[in-house]
């Protein structure tokens, strides 16, 4: 007769699995809490998670239905978070215990109770039904992801507690992060494989693949997490002209560093912004500006990375300029080198940290020192230019609107400076900055569209508009592309970390004897938040790496405290002791193993059968043949009988001696010899060698 199985029947679990699960839950809770709260709270959460696993069985045994159980978990979690909030905001507690302790108590309460509730309900659910084990796996994955998420976008110094010791040891934290991730994956796999059912294992695998596919699909659509820029940070915009420098991440939210610039000379730009020129768009193809297609223009640009000391063909003239040395270490591949304007020469450098940087080079620039007012009275264009070059740089749209607009703007200047090139330039950029609105989300296909439309655009639109207007009043101008970084981004140091958010395009104008000068549009209204400055800690770290120094986090540079040194010595001693102990153990094991094998030659007749049988058992055990639990000796002999028929005789004699039969010693000895022979002829040499070398094999024979 069958009685209906009550619905509270639990899935059976062996105790090693239970211990493993409790450990995994504790670890996950710790890892989850650690970045969010105090260390005490993390420890409390770990212990609470263990307790939760222990209590899950009780919870699962209640007569609650599955959905009610899930509901109870959710409600309890909300309640627990409420209690934590109450503690955190309680003024009485802060008054009574002091704010620091109050914070710890609040953290410990909410994370501890939270971990307990989550562990208990997740475990209880998966005790009821196996498929809920996936929830558990998700919980573990989430914890580890939460720990490691700070590491993304090139923040190699995050999470601090994990990365700092590794950096101090001179290693790459990424390896450790990968190791932690790998460990998490291994734990998850162990949990999944705990399932003995092959079909269910396959289902789990499919489920994991589906989750991965969904994550990938979502990442594609939503755009998180953005991959680090793999190719030219600014782009090699030869043909298409005016490509968006930030096209890859139109949000401009990518803070993964693409390059590190070290200032070797103290140089403050007169306009408060560093411009790193990579390329220029100067050829007007009838619609837009694109990169030059002839060799006699834009010869101040470096067209390829230096392999030896490389002089730029036509550097900027020396007037109003000073020599500045910078070092550039690229973290992402770029199509062309860039350097602080204006580059004079470049020289390759040894890569200070090949694991981190793609290449490094040194740039000698002649940087502008004077502000725009000092350039009053300087002529536009160069006296050395022929008409062809001059017309090349002033060619623009034939649309009359540009000429009229440009003249209207320039006419606003006072009479005495109306013919001054630099004044014209400034009034145009100021007008654009005043009239336009900056937004990365608004891209315009043509300059007409932007300038005579809503005037909402991004740097490329503004640069093209400015250059077109300048050319309309006869000023030789071009669009330069590269990176721009405010002086404040140095944050007091000599390191500038460039990310994709710093990619920029700006208008430039040529002044006689001064060269190309930046005439950027300072847009007054912006729809986007300004890019965040890079993490100062990461900036310092990358600067040290780019200099080829050993990056040591602050704090540990004062030398190792004596306590830690003592602990280290003690650990070393302990390790040595353990090693010795291990060695001694191995020696003892070998001695025991050899004795058990040789014993049949020496023992008295009364225990001969037993000792002889034991020696043969050891012999089989070291080759991996062992009696299973509950298997009788006879059944075992039959099982290995195909490999070594003589073992059957040995077993028979042993049992006869044990259970009152007559022992035939000669037969047993003979069978033992044949057993060795059979094993030798049936098994490959390497397997026998491994067997002989294993010191503990006899412990497993039974």
């Amino acid at each position: 007769m069958k009685v209906p199985v009550p619905h509270t029947t639990l899935i059976a679990e062996r105790w090693p699995t239970m211990v493993l699960r409790a450990f995994v839950h504790a670890l996950s809770a710790f890892v989850f809490t650690y970045p969010l709260a105090q260390i005490q709270a993390a420890v409390v959460a770990a212990l609470a998670a263990m307790l939760g696993v222990a209590c899950a069985r009780l919870l699962a045994r209640t007569s609650l239905r599955l959905w009610a159980l899930a509901l109870v978990g959710v409600v309890a979690l909300i309640a627990v978070l409420g209690i934590g909030q109450m503690f955190a905001q309680s003024a009485e507690l802060a008054r009574a215990a002091g704010p620091a302790i109050a914070l710890r108590i609040a953290d410990s309460t909410s994370f501890g109770l939270g971990a307990f509730v989550v562990s208990a309900s997740v475990r209880a659910l998966s005790l009821r039904r196996r498929s809920f084990a996936l929830l558990e796996v998700g919980f573990i994955a989430l914890s580890f992801a939460q720990l490691l998420i700070a590491h993304r976008q090139g923040a190699i110094n995050r999470p601090f507690d994990l990365a700092d010791p590794i950096l101090a040891a001179g290693a790459d934290p990424t390896i450790a992060i990968l190791a932690v991730g790998g460990f998490a994956v291994a734990v998850i796999l162990v949990l999944l494989l705990e399932e003995r059912n092959a079909l269910r294992n396959a289902l789990h695998l499919v489920a994991v693949l589906v989750v991965v596919a969904i994550v990938f699909g979502a990442a594609r659509m939503i755009g998180v997490p953005a991959p680090p820029p793999s190719e030219n940070g600014i782009g090699n915009r030869n043909e298409s002209g005016g490509d968006n420098p930030r096209q890859q991440n139109s949000d401009g939210n990518n803070h993964a560093p693409v390059a590190v610039v070290l200032l070797n000379d103290d140089y403050a730009p007169p306009m408060g912004t560093y411009y790193f020129r990579q390329s220029a768009l100067s050829y007007f193809n009838g619609q837009r500006l694109i990169a030059a297609n002839r060799s006699d223009v834009d010869r101040d640009l470096a067209r390829s990375f230096p392999t030896a000391l490389m002089q730029v063909e036509h550097p900027a003239p020396g007037t109003d300029r000073t020599e500045v040395h910078t070092q550039v270490a690229l973290m992402a591949d770029h199509a062309r080198p860039f350097g602080l304007e204006s580059v004079e020469s470049m020289r390759p450098l040894r890569n200070p940290n090949p694991a981190r940087f793609v290449r490094a080079y040194e740039v000698t620039s002649v940087a502008l020192t004077s502000d725009y007012l000092a350039l009053l009275g300087v002529n536009a264009g160069s006296a050395t230019w022929n008409d062809d070059v001059r017309s090349y740089y002033t060619r623009g749209l034939s649309d009359l609107r540009y000429g009229m607009l440009a003249r209207n703007i320039v006419d606003a200047l006072p009479q005495d400076v109306r013919q001054e090139p630099i004044a014209q330039v400034l009034v145009i950029t100021q007008w654009l900055g005043h009239e336009g609105t900056y937004s990365l989300r608004s891209h315009h296909a043509s300059t007409d569209d932007f300038l005579f439309g809503d005037k909402i655009g991004y740097c490329v639109d503004f640069a093209h508009a400015a250059v077109t207007l300048m050319r309309a009043v006869g000023l030789p101008a071009r669009v330069a592309t590269g990176y721009q970084s405010p002086e404040s981004a140095r944050q007091g140091g000599s390191t500038i970390v460039l990310t994709d958010a710093f990619a920029h395009a700006w208008p430039e104008v040529y002044l006689d004897n001064v060269g190309w000068i930046v005439a950027d549009v300072a847009v007054e209204r912006s729809l986007d938040p300004p890019p965040e400055p890079p993490d100062p800690d990461l900036q310092r770290l990358l600067g040290q790496m780019a200099r080829g120094e050993m990056p040591i986090p602050t704090g540990s540079s004062e030398g190792i405290p004596p306590l830690i040194a003592a602990a280290r010595n003690a650990l070393r001693g302990l390790g040595l002791g353990l090693l010795l102990l291990l060695g001694a153990l191995v020696v003892i094991l070998y001695v025991a193993k050899i004795w058990r094998r040789l014993a049949p030659r020496f023992v008295a007749e009364k225990s001969f059968a037993r000792v002889r049988y034991r020696a043969s058992l050891d012999q089989l055990s070291e080759l991996g043949y062992r009696r299973a639990w509950g298997e009788s000796r006879e059944a075992f002999a039959r099982r290995v009988g195909k490999l070594c028929p003589s073992f059957d005789a040995i077993t028979q004699e042993h049992l006869a001696a044990k259970f009152g039969g007559a022992l035939d010693q000669a037969r047993m000895k003979h069978a033992a010899q044949s057993l060795s022979r059979e094993l030798r002829s049936h098994l490959p040499w390497w397997r026998r060698t491994v067997g002989v070398l294993a010191p503990f094999s006899f412990l497993l024979s039974r």
Binding site: M1, K2, V3, K606, S607, R610, Y613, R614, L617, R627, W629, G630, E631, S632, R633, E634, A635, H654, L655, A656, K658, F659, G660, G661, A662, R702
Partner: protein
């Protein structure tokens, strides 16, 4: 010592002869033949749980024919078969008193139960009254008719059968009655090759081998029983193991009523018989492992929800076997 081993050798020869004769007639049933021989030698009865046409009558008849009439006992046939039906009466089995006109007295006429080998076919089809009459005969080796007790022969071996599937209109034997059977054997269908061999030998089964092998006399068989009881060693630790096994079964959560002490007493000669058939003069743990399911399975009353008593027996036996295996490596 020599007489002992002589007696054992004779007994072993007898087993071999019986085995040869039976397996020549019944193909693909070596395991069942062995168990039936063990039952015969251990003085126990056997229940075959079986379906029709599986050769049980042939087997029982062959066993009866293997006993030769060299020293016949008065009024006892070598083999009898009773087909149980619902309308059978106890006297149809035990025999009845008939009025003798000549002597003006009642004369007792022996029933079919007076035989060396009795095949009780479909024992669950008859009424409990008839079953009880047979079970008395099995347990006491005697029948009582009209207050007179008639002894059966010492060599009285019952092979009962029942069909486990066709249970409509049957009177299933309760557990205490099943306890009188040493073994309950669930027969499985024979292997494909064996079945092909059966068809190939049709219409005349190769009886040659059976006919060539000498028959076994009643006295030889009784001597063999005596020899194995006296000379096959059953080590004390194995007797302990038997008791532990029974206790383990009784203590198991899945079991309502465990095995009786009688089961253990009956099992001891069975173990010895198995050792003898396998050519040993001592019992080894494997004998226990092999016989435990057949001895204990029908004696257990399991809790509702337990599907297979065999699983219970197997799991408890595994514990005992493991303990014995471990103990066999310990120093004496």
């Amino acid at each position: 010592m020599t007489t002992d081993s002589n007696a054992l050798t004779t007994a072993r020869g007898l087993c071999e002869r019986l085995q040869t004769r039976l397996s020549a007639v019944i193909q693909g049933r070596d395991e069942v033949i062995e168990l039936i021989l063990i039952g015969l030698l251990a003085d126990g009865h056997v229940m075959l749980e079986d379906y029709p046409g599986s050769g049980k009558t042939t087997l029982a008849r062959a066993l009866g024919e293997s006993l030769h009439a060299g020293d016949p006992v008065e009024g006892v046939a070598a083999f009898r078969r009773i087909q149980f039906t619902p309308d059978l009466l106890p006297s149809d089995i035990t025999g009845t008193s008939v009025f003798d006109m000549e002597h003006n007295t009642f004369v007792y006429r022996r029933g079919p139960v007076f035989a060396h080998v009795l095949l009780a076919d479909e024992i669950n089809r008859t009424s409990p009254k008839v079953q009880a009459a047979l079970l008395e005969a099995m347990a006491e080796k005697q029948v009582t008719v009209d207050n007179t007790t008639h002894r059966l022969d010492d060599l009285f071996f019952v092979i009962a059968t029942q069909n486990p599937l066709d249970v409509a209109g049957t009177y299933p034997l309760p557990t205490p009655q099943l306890d009188r059977f040493l073994f309950k054997i669930k027969m499985k269908h024979i292997e494909r090759d064996a079945e092909i061999a059966v068809l190939a030998s049709y219409p005349t089964p190769s009886m040659n081998l059976a006919e060539k092998t000498p028959q076994v006399s009643r006295n030889e068989l009784l001597a063999a029983r005596k020899a194995l009881r006296e000379n096959v060693v059953l080590a004390p630790q194995l007797r302990e193991a038997l008791v532990d096994l029974a206790r383990g079964l009784r203590e198991d959560r899945r079991v309502l009523q465990g095995a009786s002490t009688r089961a253990l007493v009956l099992m001891m000669p069975a173990l010895q018989a198995r050792a003898l058939i396998h050519g040993r003069a001592h019992v080894i743990p494997e004998d226990i492992e092999a016989l435990a399911p057949f001895v204990f399975e029908h004696r257990l009353e399991c809790t509702p929800g337990t599907d297979e008593p065999a699983d219970v027996v197997r799991s408890v036996t595994a514990v005992i076997v493991e303990r014995l295996a471990k103990a066999s490596l310990a120093k004496d």
